[in-house]
Point group: C2
Chain length 119, copies 2
DNA sequence: CAGGCATATGCTCATTGCAGCATATACGGT
DNA sequence: ACCGTATATGCTGCAATGAGCATATGCCTG
């Protein structure tokens, strides 16, 4: 997960991923499209491959890099655990503040109350 | 988007986000839970705030940091554009290869993970 | 099998980013 | 006003990382 995020966080790698969304590409094709030098493309692809975000298929002397969905799917799954943050209507922070604003003694701050929202 | 990814890609920040999933926390509470020094927590929170992943609400001398769903939602939306990669059955790479490989020599599927080391 | 194309690797340099420590600032209680 | 608590900021050192350039490796074709 962290590896996926780190791989995607780099601007050029992000662009590569977006480019590969439309189908596999050769290293040179990627470099030409994005205006990157070939060695740099290879290095970025190496990182993406280490993160399992791409797979390679040699074709003649070329290497066709294709996007792999699995890591992205895992990201999706992880994000699903946070859906409640925008799907549900109640604002945790506001609730908490409203709740303790009527509590006169702030010395005893109980942080966890009913925030356990099921997961 | 890139900022969101970069913010999440850092291990400790990732842990902070996961921690804040269960509700707002003060800086010290976060540090205590995750075993981080206070200054470092503040710095990480700064990055998270710059990425709009958290919001602050001052309470007495404390600052309560709460998770914001919006950036995560945007990530979700972005990922939705890649759903086809794992939801649909057809494999783009295989299609492409089959299509353009009228070359009789079968592109031998040898998945050699190790690069040939230079001698 | 020599030569050329496509890609990978090695090296250096510059930048970035995180951790640690010290210190500054904000706020509340006494 | 003074002190303690809570948090933020500044500075330094160090490790990681990306870009550029040169070069090695792999593979096809004549």
């Amino acid at each position: 997960m962290l590896e996926t995020l780190a791989a995607l966080a780099e601007p050029n790698r992000f662009r590569i991923v977006e480019l590969l969304r439309d189908g596999p590409q050769s290293v040179n094709a990627i470099g030409a499209t994005l205006g990157l030098n070939q060695p740099q493309v290879s290095k970025h692809l190496r990182v993406l491959k280490a993160a399992a975000l791409v797979e390679v298929e040699p074709l003649a002397q070329q290497r066709l890099y294709a996007l792999r969905g699995e890591p992205l799917r895992e990201l999706q799954t992880w994000l699903d655990g946070y859906r409640e943050l925008w799907e549900e209507r109640f604002d945790q922070l506001d609730n908490l503040l409203t709740e303790m604003s009527q509590a006169p003694s702030p010395t005893s701050i109980r942080k966890d109350k009913r925030h356990a929202k099921r997961k």
